[in-house]
């Protein structure tokens, strides 16, 4: 009998269905799937070879269609191996699916798509086949990895305890000259005890030290050598010498050569294993910032489906879904607010501690927290496209990139281990040839000490661990650093070039000054001017209208509106004739405006655009509009000065306007009247002066300059193009991020240097001392046990030092600064 659902042959005892006596079912699932739609399975079952055809067909489709995307689904309810086929073919029937592969053990399906397919459709297909599915959440840095590390940590600890417990008696019986109660050297009793020690320390090597040997062998096959190679050689050399001395005493004519060093094997193994365990634990913390980011993701979303609110997993939210958010809830995906309003805490993404007010039309970011009110928003970016998902990807990529300094270290690392082996051999030769008696014992011990003390791991870990922490720390503060390159270069920056519009200033004009003449009332003049401008679409007009609204002035409908391009506008307001424009326009319309000349001159000097207002032929006032400086620009530029940086402003504005802004915010140098296409050239000129330049901008026209600069910093509020070309993105869109980014870079690179200097100094001092260079002068010889301890803790020290960076804070939040 065959199971029509999965095609499996089933025994006569299998469940059957009335009306289909020729079919049996392997499981309740297949049974239910059949009941749901018998036609689907019967047709397939009655056409032998259908399955093969289908396979061929899908193979053809694979060849012709190009996969553009793939989705991972977690599938529940698969009991038999044959369920796999059912799920695969159910998924394969969905339009847009190129290929579907199910992994029964993992209960996962990988679906390749040649177009955008809603996860909902795939889930529906799986559930129609009698199973349930949901998209797999991207947590590749999450649980499984953590579980793997934890397992390794626990196994290393077990190995450590075994080696440690063995070490104690081994140390005791190794020194009959020192410890009381140990049988005499050369006695049968001691030889028997030493024989036992040979066996237990062999067990220590085989069990506790297994990873040294497997690691060394794996590396050896690849013609490379690593820390494992050195430790494996060291502990096995000590063990072999001791065992030979014990078993074949005849090899060594002198009695004092018949010493044993089983303690070296046991103790070094114990220490190095403990060091590895501690290092794994410390390294898990270096990626904590990334884990925190991944943990920010909301799990569910409340969306409107068919007119009512339903709670769904965040992975199945689609673009254009209307999402409902209540106070205290996490916003699930990115979108645009359509109704309601609230204050939203965006600190987790932008680093900005003060909640942002959101009203209709404002964008909201997924993973931020809604504080006060309820609102609905339309989802614009979901899944892998959300800002958080992109930040996570960026941080992950950056953490996987290399800093230039590491490339040098890598070159050294490639030669390091074989070089240490050579030093070990040379040490042996030197002691054997020139050393005091018993030369062989000294030669073996010093060679072993050299092998054991060298720590390539400390060198290798020095840069990447600091980088991981530093880049993660940046993300926590709203600073996305794209690569190790950018992070390293940023600390050398001595000149910061700021684009004016949109970077230093808000990028849109606002009402700044209002001067009245002939005893007119300020608000009245503004109300008239704004009413006249209310029909205008000119940005300057809009600024005046916005200024009037900000003072809660009532605007009146304008009649007989007329605009004279380049001169001004006129209109009838409440039967009064209002003119607004330049001096020439006033003269044309018969408004004596000579008294305003001085004010106009002053405002122009301040870089503002000023207009004269005349009411019924009388000079009423002067209104000025200007692109205003962002609230925090002055403080941010002061912080850059505090860091000892030269601040340059670059703008297309005329010299006068540019200088006015420059004075207000306190930049050192102004590059005015620069055409957008020349910004990159200006950056190049600064570089030619020998400066390391950070360029900060937000627009498409800044992209070439951002790319030209040593470090390009893009404002997160700006265009995607700018962010693409930037090395650093300041999510918050505030200039304070620049100083924070540079401070962070300095702190991180300082940390890297500490690590590298420490690791180099450790190895360059440790290895010669281990080789015994101090012996001829001071009689100092390092014990291999001490060497093992030093080696084990040098890499832990490097990682712990990198972890100190986790306490780093920008100077604005002075506290525990490192």
């Amino acid at each position: 009998m065959r199971d029509p659902v999965c095609g499996m042959t089933v025994g006569p005892g299998a469940a059957t269905v009335d009306g289909y006596p020729e079919h049996g079912f392997c499981s309740e699932h297949c049974h239910q799937a059949f009941m749901a739609d018998p036609g689907m399975y019967l047709e397939k079952d009655t056409v032998p070879g259908h399955r093969e055809n289908a396979t061929q067909e899908s193979a053809l489709r694979v060849a012709t269609a190009t996969k553009i995307d793939s989705i991972q689904l977690s599938v529940q309810g698969m009991t038999c191996a044959s369920c796999v086929r059912t799920v695969e073919s159910a998924l394969g029937r969905v339009l847009g699916v190129v290929d579907a592969r199910v992994n029964l053990a993992a209960e996962e399906a990988t679906v390749d798509l040649d177009r955008a397919v809603a996860a909902d459709d795939l889930m529906a297909a799986v559930s129609s086949a009698g199973y349930s599915a949901r998209p797999v959440v991207d947590d590749s840095d999450g649980d499984a990895e953590q579980e793997g590390r934890h397992r390794l940590y626990r196994s290393l600890l077990r190995k450590f305890w075994f080696a440690a417990v063995v070490s104690l008696p081994v140390i005791y019986f190794s020194y009959p000259q020192i410890f009381p109660g140990v049988p005499e050297m050369g006695s049968t009793a001691l030889n028997l005890i030493w024989g036992g020690m040979a066996l237990v320390t062999l067990a220590v090597m085989v069990y506790s030290g297994s990873q040294f040997f497997t690691g060394a062998w794996a590396a050896f096959k690849h013609r490379s050598a690593n820390m494992y190679t050195l430790i494996a050689l060291g502990i096995s050399a000590a063990w072999l010498y001791s065992t030979v001395a014990l078993v074949f005493p005849g090899f060594f004519p002198e009695e004092r050569l018949r010493d044993v060093f089983f303690d070296v094997t046991a103790v070094v193994t114990a220490l190095v294993v403990l060091g590895s365990a501690l290092e794994i634990r410390a390294r898990a913390r270096t990626s904590e910032a990334l884990k925190k980011l991944i943990g920010l993701q909301a799990k569910t979303a409340r969306v409107i489906r068919d007119g009512s609110e339903v709670e769904i997993p965040v992975e199945v939210v689609a673009v254009d879904d209307i999402v409902v958010v209540r106070p205290g809830e996490k916003i699930p995906v990115d979108g645009i607010l359509v109704s309601g309003g609230s204050a939203v805490d965006e600190s987790m993404v932008t680093g900005e501690p003060i909640p942002t007010e959101k009203t209709e039309g404002d964008t909201v970011i997924g993973a931020t927290i809604n504080k006060t009110g309820s609102f609905r928003f339309r989802a614009t970016r979901v899944g892998r496209d959300t800002m958080l998902a992109q930040i996570i990807q960026m941080v992950r990529d950056a953490q996987g990139s290399k800093a230039p300094i590491q490339r040098t270290v890598d070159k050294v690392a490639g030669y390091f281990v074989p070089a240490v082996m050579i030093v070990g051999i040379l040490t042996f030769m030197a002691w054997f040839t020139f050393g005091p008696a018993p030369a062989l014992v000294y030669a073996v011990i010093t060679a072993v000490t050299v092998l054991v003390i060298a720590c390539p791991c400390a060198l290798g870990l020095a840069t990447p661990t600091s980088l991981m922490v530093g880049i993660g720390k940046g993300a926590e503060n709203g600073i996305l650093i794209k690569s190790g390159d950018a992070l390293e270069t940023a600390h050398r920056v001595d000149t910061v070039v700021l684009d004016k519009t949109g970077t230093i200033t808000k990028g849109e004009p606002a009402l700044t000054d209002l001067v009245v003449f002939n005893a007119f009332d300020e608000n009245r003049v503004l109300a008239f001017a704004a009413s006249a401008e209310s029909g205008s679409e000119h940005p300057l007009g809009e600024a005046i209208v916005a200024g009037a609204r900000a003072r809660s002035l009532e605007l009146v409908e304008a009649a007989d509106f007329d605009a004279v391009p380049g001169h001004g506008i006129e209109a009838k307001i409440d039967d009064r004739h209002v003119v607004l424009g330049n001096l020439k326009f006033m003269a044309d319309r018969g408004v004596p405006a000579g008294a305003a000349e001085e004010t106009l001159e002053r405002l122009a000097d301040e870089g503002k655009t000023a207009m004269v207002v005349g009411i019924d032929g009388v000079l009423a006032g002067v209104i000025a509009v200007a692109d205003t400086v962002k609230e925090d620009s002055v403080a941010a530029i002061r912080r850059l000065h505090d860091l000892g940086l030269e601040v340059v402003m670059i703008t297309g504005d005329n010299q006068r306007t540019a200088e006015a802004i420059a004075r207000e915010v306190g930049v050192d140098r102004v590059l005015a009247e620069v055409l957008p296409e020349d910004k990159a050239t200006q950056v190049k000129l600064l570089q030619a002066e020998g400066k390391t330049v950070a360029m900060v901008g937000d627009g498409i026209n800044d992209a070439p300059a951002l790319a030209q600069a040593d470090v390009g910093m893009a404002m997160g509020t700006g265009t995607d193009v700018a962010m693409e070309s930037g090395d650093v993105t300041l999510v918050k869109g505030s200039l304070t991020g620049i100083a924070t980014a540079i401070e962070l870079s300095k702190a991180t690179i300082r940390n890297v240097h500490q690590n590298l200097v420490g690791a180099f100094a450790y190895n360059t001092l440790g290895i010669p001392i281990a080789a015994g260079v101090l012996y001829p002068f001071f009689g100092i010889l390092l014990s291999p046990l001490l060497a093992g301890a030093a080696m084990a803790f040098s890499s832990v020290t490097v990682v712990s030092n990198a972890n100190r960076l986790r306490r780093w804070r920008p100077s604005t939040q002075k506290g525990a600064n490192t």
């Binding site: 494992y228 890598d410 040839t433």
Partner: protein, 123 residues
Amino acid sequence: MSVVVANLVGLALIGLIVWYFWLSKPQGSLAGVGAGGTQEAFILVKGGYSPDTIRVEAGKPVKLVFNRQEADPCSEKVVFDAFGVSADLPEGENVPIEFTPSEPGEYEFACQMGMLRGKIVVS
């Protein structure tokens, strides 16, 4: 006498180390060509990359599938510095890395600490 022998053996060992780790160049394996002209290779990650030298042709897309068969955190990331590509390698999972080398030459890939190394030889 024994001193002379010991020193000769020592020198021979040094020579062997220099030759084995630095001078000898393994041939490496040629990437197979899969559907659509993609040059594909499967790389096992366990104490090293097997194979650790992959020969490919320039201008054609390359797909390398890494599978890490160990819990040792040293190998948890693979970095292609020259192509600006990196990937996390969860234990036991196939992780594809795709890129198209345009210029002939030798490109290294390594773990994050630079301890495990391999290279792509583009001809």
